[in-house]
Amino acid sequence: MILQNTTLDFFLLGASAILLIGFLGRAIARNTSVPHIAWLMLFGMLFIPVFNFVPQSSLLSIISFVSSIVILIFMFNAGLNINLHRLLQEASRASIVGIVNFVVAAVAAFFVMFLLGYGMILSSLTGIIVGSIGSTVIPYVWQNALRRNKNKDLLVLESAISEPLSIILVLVIISTILINNYQVSFLATTLVSEFSIAIVLGAVFAFAWIPAMSYFQRYKYEYSYAASLSLVFIIYTIVQDLGGSGPIAALMFGLVIANGEDIYRGLNYHHSHSFTLSKESKSFHDLITFFTTSFFFVYFGGLITPSDYYGFLLGIIIGLVLLLARIASTHLALFKSEFSGSDKSLISYMVSRGTGAAVVAVLPISYGILNLQFLDVIFMTILTTIVMNSLLVANYKIVPPIPAS
């Protein structure tokens, strides 16, 4: 390991490089449609396994910690970004598209793995992990092509449905394996209990927090938005300790506080001030997500084995299969809809996998269910889908890039 005597300098430089790449990656994405996560993962791969600046074993020692933190932040942010009203109102079309695309993609990836001789657990996990499109990637890919709100909304809702769904299903599989009791009744009871505890406690804490948060926002208490985040950590811990699912509780907490105004209005609760999450809070959570995901993608890249050519090849194959599956499933889900043929093609090219797939792929490793090589397949699947998506969308450039504000 180089720079051993100046460890602090080394880590500071590393951190600044990560943040800079996170920023530059987003800037480059505006023109190239290749999202920041691709650059961050490649940077991580070069920084750690290729040049060995940090031993991979030290990354592995903190994998449980990193996966817990990232999944918590990710799920909380996913909840914050769900507009419950829009989701319910447009649920019919977006749900059909989201669920059909997710199921078809998951089944296709499952069969690729299963037919190549991998076991049921590995094939199922792969299918579910790569089943959803990436909510953090799609905006960068579409901004040069999809300027029609209808298409954007559909994709936002699709990723809002399918990404948490993918994480929830992976958590179900992991819980099933950890419970190690395959009696259907026992399994069902345990899982329902785990998820119910998370849903109820997440919602109860959020209901209690919304008026307090609104008060702090109204009277402009400094850094009050940080309190919401601290509360998520507390809820996560309490829910996990009581036998519930921490990530689901974080999702629920985010979802309820983001929709507080609508929920309280629905309950006829008369309040003179808004229960909406302020712009500062939203920016703060976006910033935290930016920090966390930037570090996480470098971390993820650092866990890759560069010589695992077979894993990479498998990732490319799965990426290609996912594209074919998406083309078929999108046309199926949007059959006889108001979307034109061109719209349908464009939507079907939005195959990029992103944060959700990467975050959730680390979970089975952290629980010791799968080995590290599994990440090579997911890594290459994410890269392949991003590259294919960018190339296909490049031909659809129908409006000039958005000028930097």
Partner: protein, 401 residues
């Protein structure tokens, strides 16, 4: 009891008594259930017209069905906003009433009666802190309390039996294995509540959406009852509080406008909901009448130990009243319902949960379980009498106001 004509005659008498008792309650403020329980005592222990042993195997099913229907009906009369606004206070009330009263009664049984701690704790959990929905739901409606007070009583009666049952099972575990985990008890309570709420919420949302499409069909009410039974069973199978799921089902059905706000579309089920509410009212009335008579029928009062029963039952009731008074003072502190706190303290009627748990204790082979049944009977009679007195004064007070 074997003769159907005899059974029909008894049923007819019960329905007549229930109707008269209800009218009497409206005039005098004396709750109808007192007359019904008394009718049960006359038909059973006094005249022996109906054998207690014939009814005991039926008690569990009839009691569960009654509680289900009563809570569903109670839920259909609750404003969701009021429910959420008061649920925190109700939770405090349940925790402050059930746990301290269980512990104090256990301490009383240990130090005064000389019972071992395991038996004392099991007994404490049987009689500690329940208020029965079978009494509270109709009573709170009949007394015309303001909505927040009604919600408080209904929700408390739905929640406290869950605490009692879990504490009972924890102490049974303590008796059988010699170890008890407070963590397991808390986790079980949270899990039980959560599953009940989530299943009730999910299935009622589905059903409200379905009702919008099937509202014009005949027998929609029966179909709704079928779905309610399914909700109860599903919640129970998954280890949740089935009664809570039924309550949530009723609340969401009544507050379907909340769903409409989110969907931004009208479901047009108001007429259907009104019809459901009327039908459910009739059915609940019928089942309540039978269950109170059942309660009167199964009480076991032996002349041999009547003084022991009266004394100990009275002391336990006193402990319950003191703890309830303190719990109500804390949980209603600075709230809109604090004016009703004296009445809330007196409305402490116990019923089905202590009776069922006492019977279960026999099944678990707990020493002194037969003594439990005798004492539970006295506690049920005392708490119901106090509730009758409390509701009588509340009725006078409310009509004067």
């Amino acid at each position: 009891m074997q003769d159907p004509i005899f059974a029909f005659s008894i049923a007819a008498v019960i329905i007549f008594i229930a109707f008269i008792a209800d009218q009497f309650f409206k005039k005098s403020g004396i709750p109808s259930f007192i007359l019904l329980i008394f009718a049960g005592i006359v038909l059973g222990p006094i005249t022996n017209l109906i054998s207690r042993n014939v009814l005991l195997p039926l008690l569990g099913t009839v009691a569960e069905l009654t509680l289900m229907m009563v809570l569903f009906y109670g839920g259909m009369d609750i404003n969701l906003h009021k429910l959420l606004a008061n649920s925190g206070r109700v939770f405090i009330q349940v925790v402050l009433y059930v746990i301290p009263s269980t512990m104090l009664i256990a301490a009383f049984a240990n130090y005064v009666l000389g019972w071992g701690w395991p038996q004392a704790l099991i007994f404490g959990s049987i009689v500690g802190g329940e208020t029965t929905a079978a009494v509270m739901v109709p009573l709170s409606r009949g007394l015309k309390f303001k909505e927040a007070t009604r919600v408080f009583l209904v929700l408390e009666s739905a929640m406290n039996s869950v605490f009692s049952v879990i504490l009972f099972l924890t102490f049974i575990g303590f008796y059988q294995t010699g170890t008890a985990s407070s963590y397991t008890a808390i986790s079980s309570i949270v899990s039980n509540f959560s599953i009940g709420i989530v299943i009730g919420l999910t299935l009622s949302l589905i059903w409200v959406s379905v009702l919008a499409y099937v509202k014009q069909y005949k027998y929609t009410y029966v179909l709704t009852l079928g779905f309610l039974l399914a909700t109860y069973v599903i919640a129970d199978v998954f280890g949740g509080s089935a009664l809570l799921s039924v309550l949530v089902f009723g609340v969401l059905l009544a507050n379907h406008k909340f769903v409409e706000t989110f969907l931004r579309r009208k479901l047009h089920i108001d007429t259907l909901k009104r019809r459901l509410f009327e039908f459910q009212g009739e059915l609940s009335f019928l089942l309540e009448a039978f269950i109170f008579v059942f309660l009167g029928l199964i009480v076991s009062i032996s002349l041999n130990n009547i003084f022991f029963g009266l004394l100990i039952g009275g002391m336990i009731t006193l402990i319950l009243l003191i703890v309830r008074g303190l719990a109500v003072s804390v949980s209603t502190f600075k709230s809109t319902i604090s004016k009703d706190k004296k009445t809330l303290m007196l409305l402490c009627a116990q019923g089905l949960t202590p009776a069922t748990l006492a019977v279960l204790a026999i099944g678990y082979g707990i020493p002194l379980a037969n003594t439990f049944i005798g004492l539970v009977t006295y506690v049920i009679i005392f708490t119901n009498t106090i509730t009758a007195v409390g509701s009588f004064f509340a009725a006078k007070h409310l009509s004067a106001a």
